[in-house]
Symmetry: C2
Subunit: 764 residues, 2 copies
């Protein structure tokens, strides 16, 4: 393979990245090894199409049992893998369970093969070896050389269209494999039905319907080729079907314009001509094949690959330019802007350009007035810092997201706000009803364009759904009884916080009945506090605490993705009361410090798929969200120095500017949002409240450009590796006396100055 | 069981049937035994909902092989069967292959059972024994007593809604089983995905998606109960699925408002209260669940079961009243009006009341201006006499049907007119492209509201589809070569006729290039005539006739649903030329007569599932369509007496007013249309031409009320069982000299008088 092919790409990409551009600091490959579960492919901010290479297609189940190896492939790509099996158009960024990987395209040369083959022997199928030296991942651009086929693959996107440019080394037979079997977290029976129609020699449309994490998901697509199809066909890999009906009378596998089955791969052959290039556009729609065609016509009217690449790059620059930061070294800038990049990969736009989208009730909804429907709400993760970050720099989008949640509630059979939803489906992953936090925080931050009374009704209806996850017992007993619903402690604590959010919204709207009801509920965390152990602990309906108890064990009754030690710290809305419960400030301070200094026994790592030894500090697990506010609790007990110390440690060790630099799943941007807030010097411990909690900035200087034109200017004087401690903080020249900084003060901008020092201090 | 329950129904039904009403002559049970494949349930004319009991749910395949027993269940019901397993909402009438049986409802009492059990032991499941004495089938009304559950079931419909009234003998637990596994021609893998949502305590919506005869078919539904649901649940019978996801956290089987799987049955329990009655409305939509809800709101706003029954009865009276006939006895009237009934069961309306329907490209189309989209086009059957009959008495509907065909062509991936299409799918059953006949006949008969130029384009594009069923070889060689495409003789003959239809339309539209091209093609029948054998015979690409040949064998190369003997007579557009080819009139007359007098050896019946010994006369097979014009050919060779004799024999022996009285599949009304035409004294041997061919009427007197107000009055003077022969025919007092009667003369009405006699005569 002539490497000139790849070089060309680098030059081209470099050509439109100005010296000032922050694009160069984004490395989409960060997190693609080990636990990050990010994908390296091309996308625009919040794009519907996230077009990325998949390195394997492991099955979710082998011999009827869960296959733990599949976990690595949540985003379809693992950096260590030697081969690529296709470029698919939908991916989650950083999740810990998965789906998607739709409409996989693989260009091949030579003999037509319709099986992917195995990674250790790529010539056994259409998959190809590749070399990271010939790979490039940039915002809205991905390229790689497929060694087995001697093809340079380049990918770029618009919001709803993936554009592929394939340059073939040899001027011989060119195949495009349309792999409609492939998918992330695939298993036998997941692909329900798939349809492909060859419209003419340049156009193909179809849809793919799956039942997986999303029970009823359909992705519609339209494909345009830059050259006429010479011939096409498919192979149906489903052997079970008895009835093939009168379709038998055609030679369906050869140039018959319709293909329909649960498991098939199609191929399209082309004469390349002297250019040796073949381009594809692949448009998606949540609604219909026509919707996909219209999306393509609207967004990608011509074949200007470089133009789409450039336009997407400009969209990314706009997002990155919301932050102007100076940091201690280039690697920090890479970390920071890659984090910003990762916060713009979800939720994603889920609506045709016309405004049509598929509702949770499978109806076709139509958004008017520029409203945009979003999907992929990983709310147990993202309510913590991602949506609060959006309230600073993505206010219109966050309002659209809130409205998408309210629409979801209206369309839902259960009449509940989203929990973990994607592609017009609720997948019910994790716990809580944290949409209410996002809504309450949006209200607190003054987001416009939301009907908050309707939103409150949706919150209340959600929070009163008795059959959902122990809510009945929670309402009757004041806590979720473990014998009624598992993970009862985690649930009780999170419900109590969520209820506080509802109460705050009700208070703001002067709906005092609701305020009273949910204020009362918000104190329910007290009912699972066990004074004897000093921890939050699972109780039965009888009122008794469950006897078997190990504060460090995650896999025991009462908890999920966190042990009693970590979860007991989860009362973000009433931290002072929690501290009092747990023995007062002094005791709490040393208790909290011991979390970071203890030596956790190996046995606690067993069966925990999303935590690595590197991902923890003592028993503090940064890779799982229940800890994300924990370090900041030191502020409440007069030990901001410890907060500052540990924040710096986390920023330095859990986020490293390398391929395997993320210590845990990025969780749709939540981990990255933590990095952004914390490196700027503050964090939203309690979304729904007005307060950010001060930490220790990693930036030297930063400007946050707000949508209202205001600028928050942050300076960390004497910032250095040796000076992680904060001596004093000034806002607009006035020294802060508290560790809380309100949104009200920040919302129009201002100057936030941290005086950094190497001396720990118990006050600012 | 108190029989009073049933008696009530009879009284009620009788109550609105006036003495003059022709409803009493319709017996929907005719054809439900043996080969008729009709269904006994409730429907309005051309209704979307055809709500009928299913007596078994045999699988299309057993152990991976076709199960020949399933053939009996094309319409879901066999009169001999001892049990009923449910009342489903969609049925074909009289087909020889099948699909549908959607949204099966079974009311039960006592212990909840979610398996149907077996017919020989109904207590093994929810199915129930029943007794024909307690069964009543009338237009838009069906009732039966379900013995095992002591429930009287009554069914009626509107166009898009089935209304169920269940009266329970005992005031105990009442269950409604919503059986979403059941279906006609079911097999493992046919049910792709099914969804049910409990909206509130009175309402349920959902959809069911199948891949069978129709590869991609979705039926949306909405159900309303007259009493609140007490509790509900379901059982998922699909064992293969590994991944159930986070839905596991709910008790999905018990009062959880969403159910989704490929194979499940839901149940709904009710307190009956003193009325002991429970009513259901089940609305269907081709487009969406909301569409079904809107159809229900629009068509069935209240619970007036008797009102819907009455309204549907009036729609039927309107159809039956198009014919006023006097016949020799009551049984003839039953035959005649039941035939009229059977001609109004398809094609069916396939569109929401709003005008929305699902196109063949899965797009949502929207009909305006009162146009109606129809589905279920069994065109190889129905182009012969059913659509020609519609041109007399269903002109607006037939124009809508033609427009539905043209829309189909536009939406089709293959850009072909429908062949055998149902529910937004082409199933490719049988041969030919007979839509062109229906279109050409519509033009010839002056149907308004059709863009005939567009229609001709659609015809031409269809007829030039080279990859379809040997058309390429037909265009190149002048005949379908058997080595290129099977059933080549049948195809060549039918294509030649279809081409003639296209030529006639082109001539009318003065598009002479097309006229020339297709006139030439219309003579292609000559290329498969073998002078040596005197029959139409299969040829190879080389030009040679295939050597192995038995003129009486249906199952040999060259033919489908007809042997060489019968098929060789298929040149309806150039009968004189055909007769000349076959040796001239005299020879042809005796040749043709031998068809009826020969003794067919038993071996020719083997492997023929849709023909019975009773269904044939000599080697003339009335149960299969290729013969339908054959008797009338005697007119061309000066032997109208033989036509008259055999027509009377067919009318007397192949249509008997009993449950098993139909000698073959009614084929969506084609068999019945033959009866209607022939009993009125004429038949459309060549649709697309202006001519009806005279036969021998069975009526004494008849009036056909045309839509333009004209009335065709038919009298058969001296009509009697002994006088099947026709001495003379007069139209408006003028004696006819030819055996042809043009539509032009009939179209505004007039008096057609047959003078009947017992003396055969070779001229009129």
């Amino acid at each position: 393979m002539r490497l000139s092919l790849l070089t060309l790409g680098i030059i081209l990409f470099a050509g439109f990245v100005s010296a000032q551009s922050k694009l160069k600091y984004v490395n989409p490959l960060i997190g693609t090894s080990k636990m990050g579960h990010t994908f390296p492919g091309a996308t625009v901010p919040f794009g519907s199409v996230q077009l990325s290479p998949d390195t394997d297609t492991l099955s979710y189940a082998v011999d009827g049992k869960y296959n733990p190896d599949v976990y690595k492939y949540c985003a379809g790509y693992q950096y260590e893998d030697p081969t690529i099996v296709g470029f698919s158009h939908t991916h989650f960024s950083g999740t810990g369970h998965s789906d998607l990987g739709d409409i996989s395209i693989m260009p091949t040369s030579g003999k037509l093969q319709l099986n992917p083959g195995i990674a250790s022997k790529p010539e056994s199928g259409f998959r190809s070896a590749y070399n990271h030296e010939n790979e490039m991942a940039r915002p809205n651009y991905y390229s790689v050389v497929l060694d087995d086929h001697q093809i340079k693959a380049e990918l770029t996107t618009t919001t709803r269209v993936g554009i592929h440019r394939y340059t073939f080394e040899k001027e011989d037979s060119a195949h495009i494999i349309l792999d409609l079997i492939a998918g992330i977290y695939n298993y036998d029976g997941k692909n329900v039905n798939t349809y492909v129609r060859v419209v003419d020699e340049y156009h193909v449309v179809g849809f793919r319907q799956t039942t997986g994490w999303a029970k009823n998901r359909t992705v519609y697509f339209a494909i345009e080729f830059s050259k006429p199809i010479k011939s096409y066909g498919y192979n149906d890999f489903q052997s079970k079907k008895v009835y093939q009906g009168f379709w038998r009378k055609f030679n369906l596998k050869d140039n018959f314009p319709e293909m329909s089955a649960a498991q098939f791969r199609a191929f399209f052959d082309f004469d390349l001509g002297p250019s040796r290039q073949l381009l594809l556009k692949v448009a998606l729609s949540p609604v219909s094949m026509e919707g996909a065609v219209e999306n393509m016509e609207h967004e990608t009217p011509d074949w200007n690959f470089d133009g789409y690449l450039r336009a997407g790059g400009m969209l990314w620059e706009k997002e990155l330019d919301k932050f102007d930061v100076q940091m201690l070294d280039e690697a920090d800038l890479t970390n920071f802007y890659t984090a910003v990049y990762h916060t713009c990969l979800g939720p994603t736009i889920y609506q045709d350009w016309s405004g049509q989208y598929r509702g949770l009730d499978f109806s076709n909804e139509n958004n008017k007035n520029g409203d945009v429907n979003y999907t992929t709400f990983s709310l147990w993760d993202t309510y913590r810092a991602l949506h609060p970050l959006f309230n600073l720099v993505q206010r219109k989008r966050n309002a659209d997201m809130v409205n998408s949640m309210i629409a979801h509630q209206k369309q839902s059979a259960e009449k509940m706000l989203p929990m973990w939803s994607h592609y017009a489906n609720e997948n019910w992953c994790m716990i809580g009803y944290h949409s209410v936090s996002v809504i309450s925080d949006a209200y607190n931050k003054g987001l416009q364009g939301i009907d908050y009374d309707k939103a409150l009704d949706a919150c209340v209806q959600t929070a009163r759904t008795r059959y959902f996850e122990g809510i009945g017992s929670y309402m009757d007993l004041g806590y979720v009884a473990e014998d009624k619903s598992g993970s009862s402690v985690s649930k009780t604590l999170e419900y109590a916080y969520d209820d506080w959010c509802i109460a705050q919204l009700a208070l703001g709207l002067k709906r005092m009945d609701i305020y009273e009801e949910f204020s009362k509920r918000s104190a329910n965390y007290r009912h699972v506090f066990d004074p004897a152990s000093g921890f939050m602990r699972a109780r039965l309906s009888s009122g008794k605490f469950i006897e078997k108890f190990d504060a460090l064990e995650t896999h025991q009754a009462g908890y999920i993705e966190g042990n009693a030690w970590n979860y007991s710290l989860y009362v973000p809305h009433q931290v002072d009361s929690m501290i009092a419960l747990m023995g007062g400030k002094k005791r709490f301070a040393s208790h909290l410090d011991s979390l970071f200094t203890m030596q956790l026994a190996d046995k606690y790592f067993e069966h925990t798929e999303d935590i690595t030894r590197e991902g923890i500090m003592g028993s503090y697990v940064h890779g799982n969200e229940p800890s994300h506010h924990v370090i900041y609790l030191f502020d409440w007990v007069g030990r901001p120095d410890l907060a500052q110390k540990y924040i710096r440690q986390v920023l330095r060790t859990k986020y490293v500017a390398k391929i395997d630099g993320l210590s845990g799943n990025d969780d749709c941007g939540q981990m990255s949002a933590w990095y952004i807030f914390s490196s700027l010097g503050f964090y939203p411990v309690c979304p729904g409240s007005d307060d950010y909690i001060l930490g220790s900035p990693l930036v030297q200087n930063a400007k946050i450009h707000l949508e209202n034109g205001g600028v928050i200017e942050i300076s960390a004087k004497n910032q250095s590796e040796k000076n992680p401690y904060v001596k004093a903080v000034y806002f607009n020249g006035i020294k802060l006396k508290d560790f809380k900084l309100s949104y009200q003060r920040l919302k129009n901008g201002g100057k936030l100055v941290f005086e950094m020092t190497n001396k720990p201090a118990k006050t600012f």
